[in-house]
Assembly symmetry: C2
Homo-oligomer: 453 residues x 2
C-alpha cells in the first residue's frame, strides 16, 4: 500500500490528497451508508493521462480503485474504504464540443448535470436525463449509475442519451466506445454495457451525449388530490392509457403529503389524501392538461391547474420538498423499485402490507408515468436496522413478483448486491461477473460493489 | 459430424431437414454473398426446448450453429456453410402477450415485423423499427442485427425498442435479460449487448418489446428536386437544424433518381437532379410540411407536396423502387455507412471521389434525417470483384475519418469483418472478442462472423 501511495505522489504530485477530511468525505454518499474506514488517498484527476497514470499504478500494485463524482449516489457504489484509491473526476469538468447541427456534445465526466444544461441552453439544446440530484450530480455519475429522473417516461433514460464513452481500462489502456452518428451497429454495444456499470468496467473519461432541442411552448402544471393512494395510482394509469404523455407525473402517498404540508406550514390535507403532481409541455401543453383534468374528474380527484408558470412552480414545490420532509420523520432508507405501470396499484398494496407486517412507516413517492416507486423506510439512528433490511427484502421480492426490478434508477452499489442474484438468476449473475473480469482481470475496480460475493 | 446429425435426428425427429434445396437456401442472404457449401442440417425450432436441445447437441459435439430468421440480412451474418447446423427460428412466430397499458408485447423471434405490426394495429399500437425488409424480415433478425430503417431519426433504433430478451446460451442454458418496466438499472445491460450481436452471444428465443401508440393525425408527403446531391444534403441538414423532425427524409442522388425514373417509365429527370422524399406525421404534419417547403425554397429546391395520402404513396413509390432499379444496372453491393448529419455533404464528396478514382458507379440513397448512407456499388457478375472491395474499403475509411461508422444498420456479418478492427481499434476488438468467449467458450456460435480473425 505504501509503495503505491509513494508512486502516486511521485507521478501525480499535489493531485494526491491524503488530508483526513478529504478521505473521510469519500466514505459515504447520499444513501447515508459509510464505509468502515478512510481510503488510502484521493487522486484529483485533471486529465485522461492522470487517470491512466493512476490506473497503471493501481494495476501494478493490485490496489482497488473507487471512481467518484459528486458523491450523490444512493446505493453506496462510490463509497471508498481502507486500502482503496479514490479517483475523483470532479476536476475534469469541461465541455469539449457542442454540435447543434448533429445534436451532440462531448464532455468530460465531472461536469455537473445542471451546469451542462445551463451551457446548452444558449444553443437551444438540453441533455434530457434529470435525476433529482441534477443540480449537484455529475454527468459521469449519471452515466455510471444509469440515473433516471422525473422526465424519463417522456424523454428517455440515460441509455437513450449517450452515443459513446471514452473508457480507461483497469490496466490503463484507453478505448473509445460507441459513435457520433445517430445509427451505428459496428460490433457489440459496449457503450450501453458501461452505462449503469457503477465503476466496475473502467473509468469514463469522456462522453458523447445525444442532445435534444429545447421543447418549444409553455409548461402547464396541475395537482390532483385523491382519497387514497390506490385511486391516485389508478388515475395515473388512466392518463397513460388515454395516450397522453405528461412530461412529469409524480405521485405522493398520504404520509408523504402530510409530512410535506407540515414542513411547509400548509394546512394539513384530509387524512388519507394522496396527490398527483403533473406537468405537460410542448405546443399542446394546455390541451393535454385540460384532457388530464377531465380524466381526473372521472376518477373522483380534485384538480388544481396552475394559472401560470409561477403558480406551477408553487405546486411543484410540494413534490420537491419530499426529501427535507422525510428527514424530519427520522433517518430514511430511500428505496427504488420499478414495476410495469399497470402493477403500480398492486405495488402500493404490497407496501401497505409490509408496513402492517413490520409495524413500520414507508412513505412513498412514485414517478407514476413510468412505474418507478421510491418507498422511504423510516427508522431511528445512523445504521439501517436489520428489521428495515428484512422489510426492504420483502419489498424487492414483491417487486420482482409483479414483473418489476430491484432498482429503477439508483443502482445496486453496495446496498443491494445481496439481492442481485434474486433478480438475475445465478446463471446470469455469474455471466455478468465473468464479463466484469474480462474488463478487470485483477478485480481492482470497485471491488465488493454490485457483484459482491 | 455424423454423430451430431444422428443425435439431432433422434432427439428432434422430423424437425431436422437435410433436403438439398433446404440446405442450399441457407447458404446466402440478400447481400448476394453465399457460403462455399451446404450446411449439415436445418433444425426447424418450434419451442425454446427445441433450441435448447439443439444447442446441447452442438455444444457437446463442438458443432457450429448459425441462427437464421428470414434470411434477409445484407452482411452474410446468417449464411451457413459446411459442417454447420442451421437453427431456423421461423417456426417460433407467436405473439405471447400484448399489454396496451404497459406499452409492451412479448413475442417469439420468428414473427415477421409487418405481421406483428398488423396485429398490434388492433390495439392502436406499433413497434417502431422499420427496416426496408419489414414485410419479410423477422423481429428476431431485426434484434440480432440492430436493424434500422426509415423512421429511426424520429422514432428510434431497435435498441430503443426492446426491454428484454430471453437467451439460450451456447451450452443450452436459458437466461432472461432485461425487464418489463420502463426504468431498470439492475446489473449490466446485457439486453443492449445482445442487440446487434449477430448470433455470436446466444439464441434469442423471446423478446419483450417496447411499443408506441399509433401516431394520431395524417401524414403529409413531399418531394424536392435539387441541382446536385450536395444541395439536397444541405437542404436536409437545414431542415434538421430548423428543429423540424420529419418521420421520413430520404435522399436519392442523380444516378439513383435516373435509374428509378427509367424503371417506372417516368420522364427522365434533368441531368444531375437529386431528390429528397419527406414525410411528416402527427397533429402538426401539415404545418411541418409547409415549413419544410419554405426551407427547400430557400435552398433552391423545387417542391411537390402531395394533396392527399394517395398522391403521397405515389411520391414514395419512387424511393421504394430503388432496389429493383439498381438491380437493372448490374449486380450491387449495398453499403451502409453512417456519419454525423453535418458530415453528409462531405461524405457525398468522398463517394464522388471514389467513383472517379476507381472508375465505377456508386448510386447512393441516404436516410438524410440520421446521416445513414447506402452507396450501391455496381458491378458485373456474381462475385464482388477485388476492385469493388478496395473501393468499399476506401469508403469505410472515409466514413471513419468523418466521425462515422462502418455500418449504420446492416451489421458486420462476414462481409465487413476485415474492417472491424479499423473502427474499434485492436484493444477494443480483442475486448469484444473476449466478451464473446464468455458467452461461447467453445466458439460454436456463428464462428467466422463479425470477429473473424
Amino acid at each position: 500500500m505504501t509503495a503505491a501511495l509513494e508512486r502516486l505522489r511521485r507521478e501525480l504530485g499535489d493531485q494526491i490528497d491524503t488530508r483526513p477530511e478529504s478521505l473521510r468525505a469519500t466514505r459515504g454518499d447520499k444513501s447515508g451508508h459509510s464505509s468502515l474506514g478512510d481510503p488510502l488517498a484521493v487522486v484529483h484527476a485533471r486529465s485522461v493521462e492522470d487517470v491512466q497514470k493512476t490506473l497503471r499504478i493501481a494495476y501494478d500494485s493490485h490496489t482497488p480503485v473507487v471512481v467518484r463524482g459528486a458523491g450523490t449516489g444512493l446505493a453506496g457504489a462510490a463509497n471508498a474504504g481502507p486500502g482503496e484509491i479514490v479517483l475523483s473526476m470532479l476536476g475534469m469538468d469541461r465541455i469539449l464540443e457542442v454540435r447543434p447541427d448533429d445534436l451532440l456534445a462531448v464532455v468530460e465526466p465531472g461536469i455537473i448535470n445542471a451546469d451542462l444544461n445551463e451551457a446548452l441552453r444558449a444553443y437551444g439544446l438540453w441533455w434530457a436525463p434529470d435525476p433529482a440530484s441534477r443540480a449537484i450530480s455529475t454527468v459521469g455519475g449519471n452515466i455510471a449509475t444509469g440515473a433516471g429522473g422525473l422526465l424519463c417516461a417522456k424523454y428517455g433514460v440515460v441509455r437513450d442519451a449517450v452515443l459513446g464513452v471514452d473508457l480507461v481500462l483497469a490496466d490503463s489502456r484507453l478505448i473509445s466506445l460507441g459513435h457520433r452518428s445517430v445509427k451505428g451497429v459496428t460490433g457489440l454495444d459496449l457503450t450501453s454495457l458501461v452505462i449503469g456499470s457503477e465503476g466496475t468496467l473502467g473509468v469514463v473519461v469522456g462522453a458523447t451525449l445525444k442532445l435534444r432541442r429545447l421543447v418549444p411552448g409553455e409548461t402547464v402544471t396541475l395537482t390532483a388530490s385523491f382519497d387514497g393512494v390506490r385511486h391516485a395510482a389508478a388515475a395515473a394509469s388512466a392518463i397513460t392509457a388515454a395516450g397522453i404523455q405528461p412530461s412529469i407525473m409524480e405521485l405522493m402517498d398520504a404520509a408523504c403529503l402530510a409530512a410535506v404540508h407540515d414542513l411547509l406550514d400548509l394546512p394539513a390535507p384530509r387524512a388519507g389524501t394522496a396527490q398527483l403532481t403533473i406537468q405537460t409541455d410542448g405546443p399542446a401543453a394546455q390541451a393535454e392538461a385540460d384532457a388530464i383534468a377531465v380524466i381526473i374528474g372521472h376518477a373522483a380527484g380534485e384538480v388544481t391547474i396552475a394559472a401560470d408558470e409561477v403558480q406551477g412552480e408553487h405546486l411543484l414545490r410540494v413534490r420537491r420538498s419530499m426529501h427535507p420532509a422525510m428527514e424530519r420523520l427520522g433517518t430514511t432508507l430511500i428505496e427504488d423499485v420499478s414495476v410495469p405501470r399497470s402493477a403500480m396499484p398492486a405495488m402500493f398494496d404490497e407496501i401497505a402490507r409490509i408496513e402492517r407486517e413490520y409495524a413500520i412507516s414507508i412513505p412513498t413517492v412514485c414517478h407514476a408515468g413510468d412505474g418507478n416507486l421510491h418507498p422511504n423506510f423510516i427508522f431511528e439512528g445512523d445504521t439501517v436496522p436489520d428489521l428495515i433490511w428484512e422489510a426492504a427484502g420483502e419489498l424487492f421480492r414483491a417487486s420482482l413478483a409483479l414483473g418489476g426490478t430491484l432498482t429503477g434508477e439508483h443502482g445496486i452499489g453496495i446496498l443491494k448486491s445481496r439481492w442481485l442474484a434474486d433478480e438475475l438468476g445465478d446463471d446470469q449473475w455469474q455471466l455478468q461477473r465473468d464479463i466484469v473480469r474480462v474488463f478487470d482481470p485483477r478485480g481492482i475496480l470497485n471491488p465488493g460493489k454490485v457483484f459482491a460475493p
